[in-house]
């Protein structure tokens, strides 16, 4: 172990990690999946969705922003944390208008996949049915705010990777909405269909137009295996070596 590495324990498993990484990154490198929605590799962590909540040395912390520490004891896959995550996912569903039955992101949607992974078949909280606007003004990209989970992945990708700053937020709390940098809607911005911001969306909010349901049911990303399986298979493969 080098001086740059620390030792920590996730659900009792001892792992080594670079001291500059977060708990989420350290877990992923060791084949442990910590559920997440607002975190995306290559973007600065934001800590918005709280789906990655873990107990680090007993304190509730988002794994995407919590740095590793030598000797840290992390609880991840516990009934308490799974319950908290289920509640968070439930609330995300009822705060938007997520109609999976006709959403073209269905089967490729991280929120939907997260719900399935956590055994959620229907929300337990009452639907709020908020009024949210669709912006179809851009020739190649659609914003459907009904499906926005305010994860800010597009906001950060546009700023950090595309160098544009097309997206931001307006309003607070239940009135918070995804905004764009032009009063004329998305068509008035510099967004290009190939921008990283477009592909950063985990749900069906920011979508390339005219793609629709090109991938048949059964062949979509999460039709075959649950979200997180790609990370967990790393551990399985390592175990087999």
């Amino acid at each position: 172990m080098s001086s740059h590495e620390v030792t920590l324990f996730i659900d009792g498993k001892e792992i080594q990690a670079n001291k500059d990484v977060t708990v989420l990154e350290a877990a992923e490198e060791n084949g442990i999946y910590i559920p997440r929605l607002c975190w995306l590799k290559g973007l600065s962590p934001f800590g918005a969705c709280r789906v990655c909540l873990v107990r680090a040395n007993g304190r509730p912390q988002p794994a995407c922003t919590q740095r590793v520490m030598d000797g840290m004891v992390v609880d991840n896959d516990t009934e308490e944390l799974r319950g908290i995550r289920r509640n968070i996912i439930d609330m995300i569903f009822v705060e938007g208008n997520h109609f999976c039955m006709f959403c073209e992101k269905s089967g490729n949607c991280e929120l939907q996949a997260m719900a399935y992974r956590h055994g959620i078949t229907a929300p337990k909280y009452p639907f709020l049915f908020p009024q949210k606007a669709v912006d179809a003004s851009h020739p190649d990209v659609l914003i459907d705010r009904n499906r926005c989970i305010l994860c800010s992945r597009c906001v950060r990708a546009s700023k950090e990777q595309d160098g544009k700053g097309v997206f931001g937020f307006t309003g607070r709390s239940i009135d918070k909405r995804l905004a764009v940098s032009s009063g004329e809607g998305l068509a008035g911005t510099t967004l290009d269909v190939d921008d990283e911001a477009v592909s950063a969306c985990p749900v069906g909010c920011l979508m390339k137009k005219r793609v629709g349901y090109a991938i048949p049911v059964g062949e979509r990303r999460y039709d075959q295996e649950p979200i997180g399986s790609d990370i967990e298979s790393v551990a399985a493969n390592k175990g087999g070596e």
Binding site: M101, V134, G212, Y213, P216, V217
Partner: protein, 479 residues
């Protein structure tokens, strides 16, 4: 459930039909039926809430109207969207996969209706005790029929899954084609059961035929009236369920309209609104609202088409008309006609499963020049279905008009209810629950989908209310 007050009868719900309906019978001073109304009491509003959505979502969105025949809406919307993206022709693989989906849907829906929804009436009689008129009783007394019904429906659903990705509410048809081909393993699995399905379909035709001929005297007048008939047909007048042009005939078989493309539907139809129903009343403009009403569905398709392009169903069609006349009008003949279509669907499926185009990779045609408006028509299991959309420059739907099969049959179903009420209930001192089933039998013959007709949601209960001349409820039957 059934409730009776001093002066009103209500039956609720109308059972073994899709959706929620209610019948009101208005009596005169001598307890004779003065007026009978078949109300659809659901409201859903699809035409409004698709506004603002993106046009490529339509095939997947509007099929949620219905869980029985979503494929019909899925394909009709897809055909309209093809036109929106500038296509009048899609690839052979796209077209044939969609047709396979459509015939699979026709097969399963017709099997469901005959074997499970209508069989209790046909096996036990219209006024059989209520506890006998159930599918569970059919399962006990005629397990072979019940099992056939289940197996035929399953096979049809497997075809839908192989073409649409799911048995209910799939995503197969996309603008310009289809998103999957039929794999050889999928094809072979379906072909394994093909001979059995053809055999059972022929047996079902024989059963429906025999039932109709055995009871012809009674059925010829039961809920029957001379009507116009409408459907789409192929270019040469053949029965065509996936794509064609309008043809309508009058009660004597005279052609009223022919070769009318879907786009011209507003030139030939109007829809009348009546305050007591959420369902509209379509009629042919030239004939007017009084005489221009028509019927759609299996009986009408048998009447309007010149021939059927599959041999076994064509033989059955010829026999059907020999026995019932060139324009069969008996409402209960819908059942026989429906089984002939079931056989036709099985024959079409056999043709398609042997077609190598289903394994083609050229699934989606390149889009052409965008259009702002499109109309498409398809023959759903219950009859002619029309979708009309307008789309703005941002790809959003700004107008939708859906005229579904059951809406087309609205006037006919009301007249059938009126006829049966007059023939079976009028002037009777007491109206019993089994007597009221006659009304439901008449409605059921059309295999109505009341959810689709009002683009509505829910179960399919029927309520019958009988009101006297002073507006007081005589009886009410709820189920």
């Amino acid at each position: 459930m059934s409730t009776t007050t001093e002066k009103k009868i209500t039956i609720e719900p109308v059972s073994r039909v899709e959706g929620h309906g209610k019948v009101t019978l208005i009596l005169d001073e001598e307890r004779k039926v003065d007026e009978a109304r078949f109300h659809i009491v659901e409201f859903r509003g699809f035409e409004r809430f698709v506004q603002g959505r993106l046009f490529w979502e339509l095939p997947v969105l509007v099929q949620r109207l219905c869980g029985i025949c979503p494929v019909s809406h899925h394909l009709c919307a897809s055909k309209a969207v093809d036109k929106i993206v500038g296509l009048d022709q899609i690839t052979p693989t796209g077209e044939k996969m969609r047709c396979l989906m459509h015939y699979g849907q026709m097969f399963q829906s017709h099997a469901l209706h005959f074997f499970h929804l209508s069989s209790p009436d046909l096996l036990y009689g219209f006024e059989a005790p209520r506890e006998q008129r159930t599918i569970t009783h059919v399962i006990e007394a005629h397990p072979e029929l019940a099992v056939q019904g289940v197996a035929m429906r399953r096979w049809g659903q497997e075809i839908i899954k192989a073409t649409a990705g799911k048995k209910v509410h799939g995503t197969g048809a996309v603008p310009g084609g289809i998103n999957k081909s039929l794999s050889l393993s999928e094809r072979d699995a379906l072909k394994c059961e093909l001979d059995k399905m053809l055999e059972w379909a022929e047996a079902a035709v024989r059963l429906a035929r025999q039932y109709t001929l055995d009871h012809l005297e009674e059925l010829a007048e039961f809920g029957t009236m001379k009507s116009n008939h409408l459907s789409i047909v192929g270019d040469d007048g053949r029965m065509e369920l996936y794509d064609g042009k309008y043809r309508a005939i009058d009660p004597n078989g005279r052609v009223l309209i022919d070769g009318v493309p879907p786009e011209d539907y507003l030139k030939i139809f109007r829809e009348e609104v009546r305050p007591w129903s959420y369902m509209k009343f379509p009629f042919l403009i030239d004939a007017g609202p009084e005489d221009g009403w028509f019927r759609v569905g299996p009986l009408s398709r048998l009447n309007t088409c010149t021939y059927i392009d599959t041999p076994r169903a064509e033989n059955a069609r010829v026999d059907f008309h020999e026995k019932l006349g060139e324009v069969a009008q008996a409402t209960m003949a819908y059942h026989w006609a429906r089984m002939i279509e079931l056989l036709h669907a099985a024959e079409k499926i056999r043709e398609l499963l042997d077609d190598p185009d289903l394994q083609g990779e050229d699934r989606v045609a390149a889009w052409g020049t965008r259009r702002e408006e499109a109309v498409a028509v398809i023959e759903a299991p219950r009859g002619t279905l029309l979708h009309h959309y307008k789309v703005n420059e941002n790809d959003q739907v700004v107008m939708a008009n859906l005229i579904v099969s059951t809406t087309n049959n609205n006037e006919a179903m009301n007249r059938t209810v009126q006829r049966i009420a007059e023939s079976h209930l009028s002037g009777k001192p007491e109206i019993t629950e089994p007597m009221l089933n006659n009304i439901e039998v008449g409605i059921r013959a059309y295999d109505p989908c009341l959810s689709c007709a009002t683009h509505a949601l829910g179960q399919m209960p029927l309520e019958v209310t009988i009101v006297d001349h002073q507006g007081e409820i005589v009886d009410r039957k709820l189920r």
